[in-house]
């Protein structure tokens, strides 16, 4: 068989503008390769969910402990911007799905078009996120310039939480909501950026003709990743912006 490395399985390209795919040497069939990568990626997505699971657990624990803090904190976020971002991500999930579909049917230009739209969605999302963060900064709810300053033991105060307008006055540990908001959205934002980077990488491969009806596995996997990023936001939005 293939122990000498000379024999390998090749999936032919569907046309001259595409490149054939060589199945990795240790797989016997393209199906085995496809299923292995897919299973591996689903497991990876499970670890992502568990990672966020820890954050969600912390959210619920403190929401239970300090419901007033969370209710009032949630009111300081702009739910309209949050809803806008939710729609942007939902739309981008659709464009990503269309991108994957186009790749599966060897439609190079359409794949590039829909993946491009998805990246645009990611950019819009991050720009809106930036304006939201800036507003929190202006009201002293998250003072980014003092984020990493040490805790002031003499005044017992947190340098990054100033609350200039006193909107959070009277509730216990008002910074907790914003700390959790920042941590969850920042880690999610990092995933958005990574996802956009992966989509750009997919576009590069598509332009070179590497992905087509015979081999679209990476496009499929990046699509899954993007849907997960959206899914996590679907949970973040009501929990943070529409605190019950």
């Amino acid at each position: 068989m293939s122990h000498d490395g000379h024999h390998s399985v090749v999936i032919p390209a569907p046309g001259p503008e595409f490149v054939p795919h060589t199945v990795a040497h240790h797989f016997d069939t393209p199906v085995q390769e496809f299923q292995s990568m897919k299973l591996g990626f689903w497991l990876f997505l499970a670890t992502e969910i568990l990672l966020f699971g820890g954050l969600f657990a912390a959210y619920f624990y403190f929401h239970e402990s300090y419901p007033e803090t969370f209710r009032l904190g949630g009111h300081q976020l702009d739910w309209k911007l949050g809803a806008l971002n939710t729609s942007v991500l939902l739309l981008s999930s659709w464009t990503m799905a269309m991108g994957v579909r186009s790749s599966q049917t060897s439609q190079k230009q359409k794949t590039l078009f829909f993946c491009g739209l998805t990246v645009l969605g990611a950019v819009i999302f991050m720009v809106i996120k930036f304006f939201e963060y800036r507003a929190k900064n202006e009201h002293g709810l998250i003072v980014f310039s003092e984020l990493f300053h040490p805790y002031d033991l003499t005044t017992n105060s947190l340098p990054w939480f100033k609350d200039y307008d006193g909107v959070m006055a009277g509730v216990p540990h008002p910074h907790l909501f914003f700390a959790i908001y920042l941590t969850m959205t920042a880690i999610h934002g990092l995933h958005v950026v990574i996802g956009a980077g992966l989509i750009l990488w997919i576009m590069k491969g598509t332009a070179k003709g590497r992905f087509h009806a015979g081999y679209y596995l990476p496009v499929d996997l990046v699509g899954l990743y993007w849907h997960l990023v959206d899914l996590i936001w679907i949970f973040l939005f009501p929990l943070l912006y529409l605190v019950p």
Partner: protein, 551 residues
Amino acid sequence: MTTNVPVIDSHAAPVAGRKNFLNCSSGFLSWAGTLDHKRIGIMYLVGVSLAFLAGGLFALLVRLHLWKPDGMLFDNVQYNQIFTLHGAFMVFIFVIPAIPGSLGNMVLPLMLGAKDVALPRLNLLSFYLWLAGALMATLAIVLGGFDTGWTFYAPYSLYTDQAVVTIGLAVFVLGFSSIFTGLNFIVTVHKLRAPGLTWFRMPLFVWAIYATAILQVLATPVLGITVLLVAFERLYHIGIFDPRLGGDPVLFEHFFWFYSHPAVYIMVLPAFGIVSELVSVHSRKPLFGYKLIAFSSLAIAIISFLVWGHHMFTSGQSTYALFAFSFLTFFVAIPTAIKEFSWVATIWKGSIALNAPMLYTLAFLIIFAIGGLTGVILGALNVDIHLHDTYFVVAHFHYVMMGSIALAFFAGLHHWWPKMFGVMYNETLAKIACGIIFVGFNTTFIPQFIMGSRGMPRRYATYVPDYMGFHQASTIGAMVLGAGVALMVFYLVASLFQGKKAMQNQWGGVTLDWLTPTPPPLENFDEAPVVTTEVYDYSTLDYKAMQTPVA
């Protein structure tokens, strides 16, 4: 067709000068950039062995310091750093990756009849993440050390002025190394089994690695986010573990033990797997209760997610939680005992070969019985209130971590050493070293059981003079143990340079790993194997391969 695989012929007539995975290419890059699971396994082996020696050195320093009640070597902060280094290196850099990373990588694809793991690039990435984590941990020592204990308990870990962020990120990176290894092995077991190799024909080492892999994937992310949150606490005071800011340190303990109890089984299940293989091969008898052992690995994996609270009996959980966690903890003993009994029943009336791997295995069986049973004692609520945070706990988990896991690792190492390198170590020295290690280990930790039951708290740099005799006995034991390990390292390394040639099938195994040429060729099998017989069927054993030296 009664033979397992057609490659048996190649044993009888080894081709002189044929290439194997060790000599098929050479040079630094052929190793550093390799995608071959066997070479990655050997890189892991070198790495985790160095980590073990470093961790062992820290342990010897701790024991030396405790020779006298006032301490011999360090001030209190230094002492805290040294035992933290010992714990962190041993747990995160040695024990967790040791068996899956080295022997798992080496043997798993061979046992499955596969050419490699399913995701070879990810495998190499796992190794480099491990390396990066190990280097970051070392960097943390340079940056001033860390004195939190390997558990990083809040709020102390939030307030101490030491390099907690660096070691925390190191643990995060090491965690992802472990996750990717587990993910890789799950996919490999599911998708790369040879034709005919059904689930219940898989060797039990594969089952054990598979159960471990599930835990690695499902538990480790929680540790990842936990250490990340500790890092955030220190960087920008998120506040969730910090009581000054409305946070709850007990939440940290829940997060931490939700991972770290299953982590105990991430560490010990592969050891069970090795022992299952070895008792069968070296008794030349099919495993007693094969399916029971396989399912008990999965049962342990599942139950292990429900018992984390037994580490927190004194942390102020609700009474009902205490009852539940204590009760569930006893359940772990059932599948574990099933294994122990099955191993003993396998040896019973077998054709027992008392060679070095088997001696290490027998040492494991004795030590693990003690380690396991003292765990049941600690799982009992009222007893644990007394024994909590004493040397009794320390002795218990060393009977499991060092006495059981490390010994099983040594057993596996001696078992597959001829397979990996095609050479045999000096068996007489190996038997002597095994004896020294066994005596040294027990001398170290039996006194710790006794002084723990009498109230000696763990992690103290000094102690009242009443305990001096126990501490000194323990220190002497540690030195003996260290000498035994040094002897082992010596003859193993020496065998690489002047060991006599091993046999094609040194011990007479009948799983696929013993049916490839020794050492295996780059893609493991000259011809893709097809499995037609049940697992551990010694009637298929080809005695010629046991008498044919490697080419």
